[in-house]
Structures are given as C-alpha cells and as structure tokens.
Symmetry: C2
C-alpha cells in the first residue's frame, strides 16, 4: 500500500470548505536576492496558522459516527495540536491533546482555546506516543497521529496539488519546491502529489541543524533517530525520526537541506519586512534555506512553503533584531 | 464628472498582471470576538505592502510615451511613495518622491530600494504639494497625486470590486466594509464600486483620533482641515483634509469612525496572533474599529481592509507588548 494521486485528490475534496485554499504569493524581494523567481505558499494563512489543519481534517472527516461521538486524541509539539483541536470543534467531536510542557505557550493556549483538553508531558523523559496510545485505549478515543498515516499525508499533499494548479494557471513549471521537514508528512505529501502532476519539480525537505534525521537517514539508507538534546529554535521541527510511511516516499522523491537557528530567524525577518507574513522559526525553514543559498536557484522557478506562523511575541522580537 | 463603475473596471484591467489580487481571508478569531462573520481583505499582501500600488499603477499605465520618458513625481508619507517608485520600475520610467523627514525609515529605505530619488521635507513647516509641483514644473515630470485624482481613486476601487466578486463566489452579501481612511482615495474608491455592485453594503471610513478630518467634515458638511500637531501612531493616515474629489463621494456614501493609538496597536497584535499578517498602525485602523466595537456587528457579515503592512520593527514590537 502506498499513497496515490487519487488519495490526495479525495483528501482535497474532504477538506474543501473547512481548509483555506492558501495563496501562492510571488516573492519579489526573495527573487531579487536569489536570482530566481520565487513564490511563497502561505500556509501561515491556513486555519490554525499552519498546514497541519489539512492533514487533521483529512483524517478526521473519515471518523465514523461512533468514533466522532467518543472523540480523538493526538500528541503534538503544537501545530498538529491546534489543528486537531480546531478540526474537532468544526466536526462536533472532542479532542485530548498530549503536548510537551516546553511547547510555546501560544500553542498550548490556542489548543485550549479551540476547546481541547491538554495533557502535558516532559519531552526529554517521557514517551508521547505511549501516553497518547494509553489515553486512546483507556477512553476509547481515536488516535490522530501527527504524520505517519496515509490519510494525514494525503491531507498535507493537497498543498502540493494547489501549487501545481496555480503553476498551471500562471503558465509556469516549478523547478523546485522547498518544504520545512519534521516527521515528513508535508514533505512526503507534497512530493507524492508533484511526482504525479509535475514530475519535473524537485522537492527538498528542509530541517534544522541537530534535527537533520531525514538527511542522515537518506545518507544511511535507513531511518535514524536524532540523538542530541540540543534544542532548536524550530520547535515545530524537533522530531525523533522520519516516519515509517513517510520515509520510503521521501527516499524515493526528496533531497534534504538544513538551516541554522540564525538562518531561520533571518528568514522570519525577511517574511516580516518583505512578505508581511508572520512565520514561526520552523515555518520559515524552507525560506531560510533559499535565502541562505543552500541551493543554486539562479534562473530557476521556486516555490517555498511557509508552513506555520504560530510564534510567541518574544521569539518573534528576537528574529527582528 | 465623477467616478463610474466602468472607470473602476477599466482600472482593474490596467493593473491586472501588475497588482496582486489579494485574498479575502475569513477571520475566525475576530468573528468570535465580535459576534459577526468577519473577513479581512489582505492588502498588506499587495505589491509594496499596501493598497497604494493599485492607484499608482492605475494612473501610471495611462502615461503617454513622452511622459514615461520624462518620469513622475509624487509626495507621500510612505506607502504611495513606495507604490509610485515600484510602479515606475515596472513601467520602465523614473520617479522622484517627496517624503516627510520623519516618515518611517523603512518606508524611505524601500522607496529608495525601488530606485526612486527621494527628496525629504519637514512635515510641520513645508508644503509638500508646493514642493511636488515645483519639481514637476522644473523637470517636466508628471505629478502622481496620492488620492485626489479619479484615475487613482478608480485604482483603489478595484479592491472593492474584488470584495464584491469574492462575496458573490461565497454566496454572501457584506453588511459593512470598514476601510482605513486618510485622504479618502481607498474609501471613496471602494464605496463607489460597492454602491454599484453591492448597494446593500455600508462603507465606513476609519480615522485615527486627532486626524478625524473626514468625520468632522461630514458633520460640518464641508471639508475641514486637521489643526492639531499631535502625532498619531498611524503615520499613513495623517492627512491634512479630505480631497476635493474624494469628499463628495464620501459625503454621499460613507460614514466615519475613529480609533486611538492603543486600539490600533491592539489590532496589530490581533493580526499577528490570529491572522499571521503584518499590519502597520494605519493599516490596522479598520480592524481596530471592529475589535473595539465602534459598530454593532453582531450577526453581521463584515469585511475589513488591512490596508498596509509597512512598519518598523520597533513600532511592531511595541504593539506586541
């Protein structure tokens, strides 16, 4: 079993009317800085401020009536949390969200704001998957995983379909699409969509340094975990390792790049000054890779996913320094 | 002579391919806070970060070849400056921009960045109109005024056409549209468009306190100037008085509201947290009026123009406090 274009198109149908069809915005200053023609897919304008709403809604529209009645549980550093909480409210079901105690306060507050019950855990000593599974079993809830589920990956892939549709409407073909990469749901979803509808487009997953499990896994030919405990400013991209389902897709279709904390901050400032969009550090990772010339983009047509904008004021202020 | 729907539709044709057709974004948090259904027209995503590009391009596409060869001159506190400078670059002509010395540094830098020559003046002792006219005469340049020109007003009115088109596509009718108001080009343009294509929609112009010349002029039945020298955080809305051409339109079609500096700052913070959009103080004035309940919007369908996002980091940080 794998992910087909039909799966992604079906997900697009399911999330229509719930999710925002986000704009693909020409990024003139980034084009000038890199010598390419750059567009930004503004997933910060998605419901709940990140692409995660696509996958959550894609999965949760498939809950049967009994499952909806009992509710869902999810574990997440914050963006999937908000997405599942908001989708639950939209669909008239309830959500329990397991979040790390050191997640940005904004993300915890927003998740509660959508009406979810939040359970905190310690990122460094406790296993969120085990906690999520235990709550699911004890309370009869459906687990909505953050990325390793074809229904989630298909939902994230709808962003790739939209990019291809917009490219066609403008008479363009993208040479490359850069995607912030954590567990790989968005990266694998977009790569799966584009492999079918825009096979000339190369997809890059962008990770924070020290959390470059995808790059190391690609080099090793097998899934490797991140071992260090050095934090990254890109809280949304601090995953453990690539997914069982996402990695084979990424292995087939994606190359990896990485960015430093400072590069992510500079990309956030660029988005503020030139795009008028609020990006969180992890959400700006792909733009950071582009602006830091991790790739030769001269003369190329490039799309960059600005994948999330849920950032505390303090972190944002630091990026504007 | 006045402004017709045909004029606005012709302007829409002229600016197509240059200007961004900005998205109308459903603003869930603002809806929840006000009890209405709120949408935001994200003109911060317009070229040069404000709606002003519409009017500048609308006017400048009508330059004849001799005028294009000689170039244009404009006076502006910043957003019209950037718009004219960028439009000049797009159209292969040159621009001289007269700007107040105390305009935000970002706006001055951006204007220069688009290749324009910037001439600074003292807002409190010098007459920018006289300076602009003198430069136009001395150098044979075409003056592109900030608002009091039907070709400019028609360009700004294209934002109103787009709102009506999007409303129709969603099966909605807006009860009200709130517009940040300075000289009145955007307000008069949007009101003119909506009066024809969505006559049920009431248009409100929103001014900063102490610069409420439109409200006082409406009350007096004649154009009155702002007299105080108290500054406003809304640098883009510190006009002298309503325009000769804009005021009669506003008198016929628009009501006025006003907001304080703090209300504008809170709206900027709301846009940051909930919309992931960067708004400058004046650009957030209409959202501020909505969020400060200057209007009873319960049960109503409302569009708010977020008209500009060109804000210094320091001013933005203050708004996030």
């Amino acid at each position: 079993m794998s992910l087909t274009l039909a799966d992604i198109e079906a997900a697009a149908e399911r999330i229509r009317g719930h999710a925002v069809r986000t704009p693909l915005i020409e990024a003139h200053a980034a084009s000038q800085a890199t010598g390419g023609r750059v567009f930004v897919k503004a997933e910060v304008l998605q419901r709940t401020g990140s692409f995660k709403f696509r996958g959550a809604m894609s999965r949760m529209t498939l809950l049967d009536s009994g499952e909806r009645k009992r509710g869902v549980v999810a574990y997440s550093s914050g963006n999937h949390a908000q997405a599942v909480a908001c989708a639950a409210r939209d669909l008239g079901t309830s959500a329990v969200i397991v979040m790390p105690a050191d997640a940005p306060k904004l993300k915890i507050d927003n998740t509660k704001g959508y009406g979810a019950e939040v359970v905190l855990y310690d990122r460094f000593t406790q296993d969120r998957v085990a906690i999520g599974k235990r709550i699911a079993e004890e309370r009869g809830l459906t687990l909505v995983p953050p990325f390793d589920d074809y229904r989630i990956i298909a939902g994230q892939g709808t962003a790739g379909l939209e990019i291809a549709q917009d490219a066609k409407a403008m008479g363009l073909t993208f040479d490359a699409v850069l995607v912030p990469c954590s567990g790989g749901g968005l990266t694998a979803g977009i790569a799966s969509a584009l492999a079918e509808v825009s096979p000339q487009t190369k997809v890059y997953g962008v990770e924070p340094e020290h959390f470059d499990d995808t790059a190391r896994s690609l080099a090793a030919g097998e899934r490797l975990a991140n071992t260090g405990t050095a934090p990254s400013i890109c809280d949304a991209l601090m995953t453990e390792m690539p997914g069982e389902l996402t990695f084979p897709i990424i292995q087939r279709l994606v190359a990896a790049l990485s960015v430093t904390d400072d590069e992510a901050r500079r990309a956030m400032a660029h988005a503020f000054y030139h795009l008028k969009l609020v990006a969180e550090p992890g959400g700006a990772a792909a733009l950071a890779a582009l602006l830091s010339n991790k790739l030769d983009t001269r003369g190329k047509t490039i799309a960059v996913i600005l994948s999330g904008g849920n950032v505390d004021a303090e972190t944002f202020k630091q990026a504007l320094r």
